[in-house]
């Protein structure tokens, strides 16, 4: 880490400076980080990389008008210039009665976010982990081709201070790894697959399992056949659930989108939005997932929030601005970096486990498809989607019969939520998500 001014000191200086320039209120968010990574490209190590980054973003309020400026020039003159620019923008931006900052509140400091061993992890070890992931995948079968991948060690210290007494700081560390590629046999090329992993400790690094899952998936999808178009069951593996269901859900539970009329959950509070089996919690205290932290972009303490309870929508996610529009407090979901003003986003999304095993879910399917990955862009506003099943398997009479190719699924995510028939006991952590297998009924499956 850098040895000069700490992020929290910088934030306090910026807030003080803004008040001197006549601001009614001010806030600063700063972070510094050290990131080391090794990149893989086409079955080989491509590049070793390291970044030291630091920066600060300053929000200034004057007569209900807001200005924002950010810089990574952290010299006194660089900091001053950022504060002055934010102050100047605050003279001219349109006023809003909802421009407010949170008051200081007691936060519980989360344990286990940072282990010094992450910072001590040497470049040689980063390269060696990337290399181990690559050789494990290639060692599974000569048919495996790794297109891209990386292993990263990152340590970040972030801080936020405002003129209402907020002042907090936190250090976190994490290892991430990622592998993407396909299998080839003769002229046949399998579906792409990718797998991700993360850990906050050295002992939790398991690039081998990630590489083997990936290799198993791509080799398993060789010899794929088409199916006839039909309506049947869908078993979404955690990755597929993350790609298909999560983006529209994250969009729909944002208060900002609900207030602007672009969420399908607008006006649906305390109403049923999914099958009873679904309980969805936003939980920044779950440290194994990547979005863990004690406080949000505005310094509001995080606390676990049940968003959907047994199918019923219990709340939206708020930051201070959207909260103030409804005369309520932030739920601690201000998000973003020092480079932008706070937006609204989930932290870690956890779907509660169900009561059946993955095997039982498959054996209950008369005719359907197991989807390990989904490629397509669901429209977050309407929920409409049309996309390609990647790494899909045909299920008949409770048995996986063959891998699928050129198979499309279409429908509406919000309608699908009402068709959830089962949720598995097994769950997988994928970056900031903890997701089970999700069984759905009555889905249109089309052969392309």
């Amino acid at each position: 880490m850098e040895d000069d001014a700490l992020p929290l000191d910088l934030c306090s200086q910026a807030v003080e400076r803004a008040l001197k320039l006549g601001a009614d209120d001010a806030e600063a968010f700063a972070s510094e980080s050290l990131e080391t990574d090794a990149l893989i490209e086409i079955n080989d190590v491509k590049l070793g990389r390291s970044h030291r980054r630091a920066g600060i973003g300053v929000r200034v309020f004057k007569d209900s008008r807001m200005g924002f400026s950010s810089t990574n020039d952290l010299t006194p003159s660089g900091l001053n210039r950022a504060v002055e620019e934010a102050r100047s923008i605050s003279n001219h931006s349109p006023p809003s009665p909802y421009n407010t900052l949170p008051e200081a509140a007691a936060a519980t400091t989360l344990q286990g976010l940072y282990h010094p061993e992450v910072q001590r992890f040497a470049l040689e070890e980063v390269v060696s982990k990337a290399s181990e992931m690559l050789t494990t995948a290639r060692g599974y079968s000569p048919r495996v081709t790794v297109d891209t991948g990386y292993f990263t060690a990152t340590v970040e210290q972030c801080a936020v201070a405002n003129s209402k007494g907020v002042g907090c700081e936190e250090k976190s560390g994490m290892f991430f790894w990622y592998i993407l590629g396909m299998a080839r046999e003769g002229q046949e090329v399998s579906s792409f697959d990718y797998q991700l992993g993360s850990s906050r400790t050295v002992s939790g690094i398991d690039v081998q399992s990630t590489a083997l899952d990936f290799a198993h998936n791509v080799v398993g999808s060789l010899g794929a056949k088409r199916c006839e178009s039909f309506k049947g069951s869908l078993v979404l593996a955690p990755y597929a659930a993350e790609q298909l269901l999560s983006p529209p859900l994250a969009w729909a539970i944002s208060s900002n989108n609900a207030q602007k009329g672009r969420s399908r959950f607008r006006g649906r509070l305390n109403q049923t939005v999914s099958s009873e089996g679904l309980t969805l919690v936003d939980d920044a205290s779950y440290i194994q997932a990547t979005a863990a932290g004690s406080f949000d972009r505005e310094g509001v303490p995080h606390s676990p929030l049940t968003v959907i309870e047994k199918g019923v929508l219990k709340t939206y996610l708020y930051n201070s601005y959207t909260g103030s529009k409804e005369g309520r407090r932030s739920t601690g979901h201000a998000s973003g970096s020092w480079r932008s003003t706070p937006s609204v986003n989930p932290t870690n999304i956890l779907v509660h486990e169900g009561s059946v095993s993955r095997e039982e879910m498959i054996s209950d399917v008369r005719r359907g498809v197991l989807v390990t990955r989904f490629s397509g862009f669901p429209n977050p506003v309407t929920g409409d989607f049309s996309g390609v099943v990647k790494g899909g398997y045909m299920i008949e009479g409770g048995e996986i019969v063959h891998p699928l190719k050129e198979t499309l699924i279409t429908g509406n995510v919000f309608d699908l939520l009402l068709k959830i028939s089962s949720i598995s006991k097994e769950r997988k952590t994928i970056m900031s998500h903890v997701l089970p297998y999700i069984g759905l009924e009555d889905v249109s499956i089309t052969s392309a």
Partner: protein, 468 residues
């Protein structure tokens, strides 16, 4: 304070490596966004630092630092050398070397009329607020609008161990207005945008901000009453924006040499006929044919003088887009396509201004010969695969019957295989425009690009954007 070019030279030469490169990049940006009368963003930013890239033992190392004292820079390049050497141990295939290139020495700046710094942030906030308001005031049917202005002012110093020594200035503003009309459950949205490499006067030379607001509003109001078309394979006339979209997304990415090496559809096709002999497709660093293309690059981020690269010449594939490493692999000269978005990004092969050269017909002559078909205008995004298959939306689709433009349809998509479409091109107009400069191209990192062309006639599948 930026480091001096002499300091960068000294640091680059101190590295124990086969090749080393320093790139100081200071970006000052302004970003203002208003949605439905509410300010979503009003910010200014300075983001500066140095990225070092080093080739040692046949492997690459890259480091970046936002601190630019001699001590910080020496530490960073030392780290880059150890990154490279450590990677080399695990690397199977060493980097063969870097191709000879025309390296840039001196000061480079595109033409800029009306420096953006002379217009304060206040003026930009007021501009966006007024432009958005103007759209909503146009009609009660317009229920939402947004306006976005953003600009990037770049100052770079690029020094390489083999002789590049360039000071580069750049200025890229853009202005986008969106109008949303709703009536009886129907919603239609329309956008208009301006984007250039240049100054304030260049941005608003052909159209004023008010024109952009009025055009977006008028189009949304027109579209709300339009039907969606039935799907069919038919004759289409594409406007310069649609031609740009296909040139960039569906053709351009497949000829980036790194994609070629990983097996794109253009692999092993140099010298083959891939398009009708009317088609000459180029990717231009300096703004070819028309000035101020938003993707203009005079010197790339490896210090190579960016040129105009002919990719398809009269229908024959003649070149890929290269950096120095891929140029060496293919035994050709680098084309100046290595670009890094911000200082902590390592240079990758990216496009610049991608275009199809104009022909010699008038727009009227192109339409006149169409018995039945569509005129498609204004790309609205979509997707393209490494095999050249694509689907893009168009915001306006005019039915052409017996040589006359008749009805307007909306939410139209065009799909096909890029090279098949290009093989079927049978007419090109003599007008030319860049029209894909708003927004960014994403490929692990962002890049400002532009694309365009003339009006082009071909055969394609036209259908509704949302199934049907």
């Amino acid at each position: 304070m930026p480091p001096t070019i002499d300091l960068l030279r000294r640091v680059v030469e101190s590295a124990d490596s086969q090749y080393s490169e320093a790139r100081y990049h200071c970006r000052r940006s302004v970003d203002v966004r208003v949605v439905k009368g509410e300010l979503e963003e009003a910010k200014s930013e300075q983001y500066s630092g140095v990225g070092f890239r080093v080739l040692a033992d046949g492997a690459w190392g890259f480091t970046s630092t936002s601190k630019t004292s001699p001590g910080d820079l020496e530490r960073a390049i030392g780290d880059a050398v150890s990154m490279a050497r450590t990677s080399a141990v695990a690397k199977r295939k060493r980097v063969a070397g870097l191709a000879e290139a025309r390296l840039a020495v001196g000061r480079f700046q595109p033409p800029i009329d009306g420096p953006l710094e002379e217009h304060g942030v206040e003026e930009k906030v007021q501009l966006v607020v007024a432009a958005e308001k103007r759209v909503r005031e146009r009609s009660s049917v317009i229920t939402s609008a947004s306006c976005h202005y953003d600009e990037m002012l770049d100052h770079k110093l690029i020094v390489t161990s083999d002789g590049a020594e360039a000071e580069v200035f750049d200025s890229k503003p853009e202005f986008i207005v969106t109008a949303v009309a709703s009536r009886g459950g129907e919603i239609a949205s329309a956008y208009r945008s301006l984007a250039v490499t240049g100054g304030w006067k260049d941005l608003f030379r052909e159209k004023k901000p008010e024109d952009i607001s009025d055009e977006a509003a008028a189009l949304a109001l027109k579209l709300i009453d339009c039907k969606r078309p039935r799907g069919e394979r038919t004759t289409v006339v594409l406007d310069p924006g649609m031609v740009g979209q296909i040139s960039h997304e569906a053709v351009g990415h497949t000829v980036e040499a790194d994609f070629v090496l990983s097996g794109s559809v253009a692999k092993d096709r140099i010298g083959s006929r891939v398009a009708s002999d009317l088609v000459t497709l180029v990717d231009s660093g300096p703004s070819h044919i028309a000035p101020h293309g938003a993707g203009t690059v005079l010197v790339d981020d490896e210090g190579v003088l960016a040129q105009t690269t002919t990719v398809i010449e009269r229908g024959v594939l003649v070149s890929y887009l290269h950096n120095r490493e891929t140029a060496e692999i293919f035994g050709v000269s680098p084309t100046g396509n290595a670009r890094a978005f911000e200082y902590p990004d390592d240079p990758m092969i990216r496009m610049r201004n991608t275009l199809i050269e104009p022909g010699d017909l008038s727009f009227e002559e192109i339409i006149e010969e169409v018995r039945h078909g569509y005129l498609l205008k204004g790309p609205t995004g979509g997707q393209a695969d490494a095999n050249g298959e694509f689907m893009f939306g168009a915001q306006e689709a005019y039915l052409i019957e017996k040589g006359e433009v008749v009805d307007l349809f909306r939410e139209v998509a065009i799909s096909g295989q890029a090279f098949e479409i290009l093989r079927g091109v049978d007419a090109l107009s003599r007008d030319f425009r860049y029209d894909l400069g708003a927004g960014y191209c994403g490929k692990l990192q962002a890049a400002k690009v532009d694309a365009g062309g003339p009006f082009l006639r071909c055969q394609a599948i036209v259908g509704g954007l949302h199934g049907g």
